[in-house]
Symmetry: C2
Subunit: 462 residues, 2 copies
């Protein structure tokens, strides 16, 4: 058995799972239209395909130049990089295959010339050209715009992995990828008002219409989400586990809406969202199997951008972009905390990932060294000392109060400052656990406490 | 000036053209909705962007491993490969930016709450959810499905350039890329009948409904078109010029419909088609500037697949997939002629491009050598001799009638058999001219002679 082939157990497990999923898909075509079941089955198939392809394609990727060295290991051998591209390809392929399933019943109803009265349709029957239609085109265009956005971000990620695009060039491209999303949002919903918290209503009224600003806000979310996943990275598995946690919590949020008695007005939005999240969870879990400590493959920027955009797509088209913000709190913290280095107030080395201590085998916070000649200017020195006192930074001073080194400004380093040296998988697990805790609290705030500051929840007005 | 920067003249020309295009775009937003003008302006911008990016990104591509050696030159230096990826990126980006322009008026009408009675809409006003809509979602979903298909094929092409995917693996993938197209075709038109020629009507009736077979036919076109562009390749510029000729003739065909008094029933389809073809012509012309003899860049499989799929998209969604077949006649001939080597009846060397004679500087037909030990079997030998007699193959026999060598089965080699050794640009120009002649004849047949075998032309029944 070579490192690029599946073991007998793996082959058997994957084949069994695939066969089960195919059987489900075949049954669905005969029986009723159940997009959720189809989506689950496709997610299972996507998991199997991704798992096998990542294993098989390793040598091909290395040959094509997609390879990297794991700096946090004793044994520094080259492993395949950019395997997120496989995830993205399988995912997009699954979503395209899903199109006929998702619209199978609609297609039959729209083209059979009547007789299918059991299809619940919100549009009146439309006479268009020479043919009678009852097809939910708005649903299809939402769906397709999401695929276009995801495809665009996957290409951008791949280009970044191939060419190492400069930060300032690639930062805004997710906003362009979001254009189809925003057009569809505009024509399908066009809601740009936000509900004002009760305590502010005497001053601002019940609703504030943000107008074009709301689109700027959504574009900002589209820029932020992919980039924020991309900068909370650097140790095995962390990119994938944080994405799986966010996707799982978004799916949980969707499931909460689906548990209400049908037909809830938001059911369709959340079914839509689930149909994008489940295959994403499928391909991500397969990637995690290969990327968890000790990693046999790297995920590449492709995966980070792609994951971030999946969240943007479902939250904009599912109308819960504010819920997404709550789930991205650790990423937001990481970004804000990183700002001093990102914006050049503090020198930023090429790599800020935690430092591997070869003797102990543990990770320690990486540091920015300060020489005697090059000390921070007064206001920055004051800020660094303050952060040091607040235990938000490790600051090492010499006998005369000059800076010797400060830990780098990332959540991973900060966590190591707090918890002391940790093994790589332990650090990844703890950060993931923190993401889960913050996310669950975020959802709790969203659904329980929101009623304290808002008169009506989305549950009722959606 | 380095080879990767623009000359002063080039910079000035591109800036002038860009400025003119931007000025047009700004004016369009103020005045009426003219998607054709917007499309023209975007095509100009796409030309400028592609021209500059191909020049600038040369060293980056070479560094990333996208490089190749031109076998048909004295000076065999490495030049950037896969520049079709730049074309595809700029094109897709332009098409995404075009979305808001294309639907600007509709968005205004759909969301302004009435008052815009001047919008010609074929659908009745639809009450959907809580908002009054008059948005042509079916048009948007056609548009988006086209972008998804093109994005998929561009990714496939890139993967092929990166990983050299095996022929049998990649052959069918265009069919999957076409799924969104076919779904939209199904719900928007669903016409699967073909008109029977007059002389056959007594036996078959006026219309024959092909049903599911029609979708198989469209999938076959989707597989054939990208692959057929890809195999008529091997000399500088030929991939691009054949694509430009086909795109220009399709645009001419569209223009014929637009010249009829508005509102012709097919106007919208052909406007749609033009809005996809014009930016394609823009990026292709920019690529040709760098790829024409002597080539400074190669186009890669990405370009060939992408070009082929653009034709599939416009012809399926514009309902003239049969017209496309007429324009692809040289490619069809090349494919059929290549079949003996593609299917292994005759040995197929790795490269079949014409042989460069370093002494004369001209191209000659490349050959498959036959040894005494390895002679073709009887039926194949008979076929080769027949082709040789028909001047469809150069056959060299030794004194005892044994095969020494036969020219390779490609249109380029056949042309060299007919015309004798030619310089590379001369060969490309002659093949392109042949493509123009055949294409114009095809369109003439389509529009003039079709009335002899069909009672009604698409002109009247759409």
């Amino acid at each position: 058995m070579t490192s690029s082939s599946l073991s007998r157990t793996e082959s058997l497990s994957l084949l069994t799972l695939s066969a089960a999923c195919v059987a489900i898909l075949c049954n669905v075509f005969e029986g009723d239209d159940k997009p959720l079941i189809v989506s689950l089955a496709l997610s299972g198939l996507a998991f199997c395909a991704t798992f096998a392809l990542i294993r098989w394609l390793g040598p091909t990727f290395i040959k094509a130049g997609f390879k990297g060295v794991d700096l946090s290991k004793h044994n520094r051998r080259e492993i395949p990089e950019c395997m997120g591209a496989v995830c993205a390809s399988v995912y997009l392929f699954a979503m395209i295959v899903f199109v006929p399933f998702a619209f199978y019943k609609d297609v039959v109803a729209a083209t059979s010339g009547g007789g299918n009265r059991d299809v619940v349709l919100q549009v009146e029957h439309v006479q268009e050209g020479r043919f009678l239609h009852r097809f939910p085109h708005s649903k299809l265009s939402s769906y397709l715009s999401a695929i276009v956005s995801l495809h665009t971000i996957a290409s951008l990620g791949l280009a970044d992995d191939l060419f190492d695009i400069r930060w300032r060039h690639k930062f805004f491209i997710p906003a362009f990828a979001a254009i189809p999303l925003l057009v569809v949002y505009r024509v399908d919903f066009g809601v740009t008002s936000i509900v004002v918290p009760i305590h502010l209503q005497p001053y601002l009224g019940q609703l504030v219409d943000l107008g074009a600003l709301y689109y700027v806000y959504m574009a900002a979310v589209a820029i932020f989400s992919p980039n924020s996943i991309n900068i909370l990275a650097g140790i095995n598995g962390i990119e994938v586990t944080q994405s799986i946690v966010i996707a799982a919590l978004l799916a949980l949020n969707d499931a909460l809406y689906l548990l209400t008695p049908y037909p809830h007005p938001a059911t369709d939005s959340h079914l839509f969202s689930l149909s994008f999240l489940l295959p994403f969870l499928g391909v991500s879990c397969a990637l995690l199997c290969h990327n968890w400590y000790p990693a046999r493959v790297f995920v590449g920027d492709t995966y980070c951008y792609f994951a971030g955009m999946v969240f943007v797509v479902v939250s904009i088209l599912g109308h819960f972009s504010k819920t997404l913000i709550l789930l991205l709190l650790p990423q937001i913290f990481n970004f804000v905390y990183s700002a001093p280095q990102l914006f050049g107030l503090v020198p930023c080395p090429r790599h800020r990932l935690p430092r591997f201590n070869a003797r102990s085998g543990l990770l320690e916070p990486s540091v920015t060294p300060w020489t005697e000649a090059r000390q921070p200017r007064a206001p920055i020195a004051w800020g660094l000392r303050l952060l040091g006192k607040l235990r938000l930074l490790r600051v090492v001073l010499d006998g005369e109060g000059r800076f010797v080194e400060t830990s780098n400004f990332t959540l991973l380093n900060l966590w190591l400052v707090w918890r002391g040296p940790l093994r790589e998988d332990r650090l990844a697990a703890e950060i993931t656990a923190a993401q889960v805790v913050v996310g669950v609290m975020g959802l709790f705030v969203r659904h329980s406490l929101a009623s304290l500051v808002f008169l009506e929840d989305n549950w009722s007005i959606h």
